[in-house]
Amino acid sequence: MLRRLTILSAGLAVTASLGSPASAYMVYVSNEKDNTVTVVDSTTMEVVRTIDVGQRPRGITISHDGKFIYLCASDDDTIEIIDTATYEIVGSLPSGPDPELFVLSPDGRTLYVANEDDNLVTVIDLESKSVAMEVPVGVEPEGMGISPDGKSLVNTSETTNMAHFIDTESHEITDNVLVDARPRFAEFKPDNSEVWVSAEIGGTVSVIDNASRKVKHKINFEIPGLRSESIQPVGVRITADGKKAYVALGPANRVAVVNAETYEVEKYVLVGQRVWQLAFTPDQKTIISTNGVSNDITFIDVATDEAVQSVTVGALPWGVVVSPN
């Protein structure tokens, strides 16, 4: 611990001397292989520092006020809390074993965690830092999405191949919707009307109607010259106006741009190798992809859907979140 603190304070001095414009957002990237989080300035697109964290960091999110990063340290069976002012690990949350991905409730009070090894969704009360509830779900829970109204939580189970809808009041599963093989991610539309679930091995995104809880459309991807097996959708993000969606396609090395109203794929943006997760900047002008195998992230301009720049981060970048302010 002492050693970590020394490194941290040394790093802090470097950051302070670099400085950064007040308008810039900070992009936080979890690097699964080298146990770090890379901090990138969204304006300069440069790495401003690297934070040492627990083992196998994957899921990453940030409190709505931007003060704390929550990070799944999967192999340490914990969620670390990082203070964004000091970049120090200031606490941890009782995540249950092997936390991989989580979602923060819209009111910022509750964290819902997928425990991949135990077929559970753990509900954590952030104020008391304690487990409020455990909900048994399907085999290998991973994707976590919450409706903007905070009423419905969706967990995807990778081997059961379902989207489990969980009522956030009762913590009961209300609906189980079968999707294609190895569902990795769930993302609600801003108007609560739909939830999009990616299936990595199935190669599709299922659009589930949130009222009827039925699959209303299935999005397929075709890239000339690529085998269909290599198109493996993972991360999904939908713009705040609900008009456009971005889908990370894994070893297809591309992010698909989908018209969220017609479900037509409009473009494939070539990024880096094995692209998994995505995050918008709060102004929604940029979306950032993590490219695991090429050890970089790519900034994509949302207006033009062109890749602007790639930035080398740590080893095997996995998750990404951007500061809200």
Binding site: D98, E116, D117, N119, G138, V139, E140, S157, E158, T159, T160, N161, M162, H164, I173, N176, L178, A181, R182, E200, I201, G202, G203, R227, E229, S230, Q232
Partner: protein, 416 residues
């Protein structure tokens, strides 16, 4: 495409048979209903009974580390049953596993009949090719689906293929091709081969020879290692092996890799590091091709490995993976059809868009001409995964996985 016509004819026949049996069943049922009317509750849990029919006898190995675990294969099926049941709780389906063992050379028909009489309609077969063939047609008549999880014999997918037998275990040619692609990718093209004197050893040697021709390797010399029936492990035996193996390999011409075909565990383990000239060993010893590797953590593999180790107290082996995959295929088909009827499940599995996820980095599909599951082949050295095939650059117009094993244009299978 002649086979599709046959299939269509077959399907019509099957539908007819099904229709007649439904009529018969209905007439029988109406009698029963008259006696005891009991409407089924709407939320009734439906049962899907799987069987694991296994030829088993304790087996020796040259290294104690390689002695097959008592529950090899069965353990994988059990983990899949657990996974199926977790899914089943959401859909009111309950899966069970009925395990039955016979001796490796025994008549398996009575055990098969017993299993079917207990209501098992899906059988995971871990049997010899001969045993499997002895029940395949019986199973067809009884509407039972068989999943071959143990036999790697190509003939079960070729001249002896069956419409009702699905194969989740890879074939010897798939394994040999996976290995050969890697050696060629490494530019290690000159091979010598030592093969055992038992039938399976010779079959694997054939697969290696075929792979050499296919991918541009050259077997520059071969030798048979005759099993003289000596004890496999003795205290002082190792002293002799250290002297005998170099002499045995002394007269080989120069080569890049020494291939070993010894499925029978007579000499293979003794080859690496004991050769006359220092060369890597591959085949059934050294770099070994397999359907799964106990150390694979790629493609979400960590999850299945953890789940398996927790349930069974040991690492997951290839046969465990073949059995897990078979039981998951049945589970997935039952889940998605919301049915327990083998006809419906089989139709689902045989459909064009069927695929299964099995921690191998891509969806796995069946070869429709012989119901062999396409799959990548792991190459491992006992400690870790060295590579997985197909290797980069081995292209195919349908699926790169079809560069492994006997492909459709060469098949001798006529499904019946």
């Amino acid at each position: 495409m002649a086979y599709s016509v046959d299939q269509a004819g077959c399907a019509v026949l099957r539908i007819l048979i099904l229709f007649i049996s439904i009529l018969l069943a209905a007439s029988r049922l109406s009698g029963a209903v008259a006696q005891e009317p009991s409407p089924a509750p709407a939320e009734q849990v439906s049962q899907i009974k799987l069987g694991y029919l296994r030829a088993y006898a304790p087996q020796l190995a040259l290294s104690v580390l390689d002695v097959p675990p008592r529950d090899e294969g069965v353990a994988g099926a059990k983990v899949a049953i657990g996974d199926n049941n977790t899914t089943g709780t959401f859909l009111k389906q309950k899966f069970t596993l009925d395990v039955s063992e016979v001796k490796p050379d025994a008549d398996v028909v009575p055990a098969f009949n017993d299993m079917v009489s207990r209501g098992v309609l899906y059988i995971l077969a871990d049997l010899s090719a001969t045993q499997l063939l002895s029940i395949a047609d019986l199973a067809h008549d009884k509407g039972v689906l068989i999943f071959n999880v143990g036999a790697t014999d190509d003939r079960l997918r070729e001249e002896d293929c069956r419409e009702n037998v699905f194969h989740t275990a890879p074939t010897r040619t798939m394994l040999a091709d996976g290995l050969a692609q890697y050696l060629v990718w490494k530019q290690w093209r000159r091979w010598v081969l030592i093969y055992g004197s038992h039938e399976p050893d010779k079959l694997f040697a054939d697969a290696l020879r075929r792979a050499a021709t296919r991918f541009g390797g050259e077997i520059v010399a071969e030798k048979e290692f005759t099993d003289t029936g000596t004890a496999r492990r003795t205290d002082t035996g190792v002293v002799q092996i250290q002297r005998q193996m170099p002499v045995f390999t002394q007269d080989f011409p120069d080569h890049d890799v020494l291939l070993v075909a010894d499925e029978s565990e007579v000499f293979g383990t003794y080859v690496p590091f004991r050769t006359w000239i220092p060369r890597p060993v591959a085949g059934t010893a050294g770099l070994v091709p397999s359907a799964w590797h106990p150390a694979s953590e790629q493609w979400g593999g960590t999850q299945i490995q953890n789940r398996f180790a927790k349930a069974n107290g040991r690492r997951m082996l290839s046969k465990d993976m073949a059995a897990w995959t078979a039981a998951r295929i049945i589970g997935d088909a039952a889940t998605r059809t919301q049915s327990t009827d083998p006809e419906k499940l089989a139709a689902f599995i045989r459909a064009d868009d069927f695929s299964i996820a099995a921690f191998k980095g891509q969806r796995l599909t069946f070869r429709k001409w012989n119901w062999q599951l396409r799959q990548p082949i792991f190459l491992g050295d006992g400690r870790s995964v060295v590579s997985t095939s197909p290797q980069e650059g081995f292209l195919h117009q349908v699926s790169e996985l079809d560069t492994l094993g006997i492909d459709q244009p060469e098949t001798q299978c006529e499904l019946k």
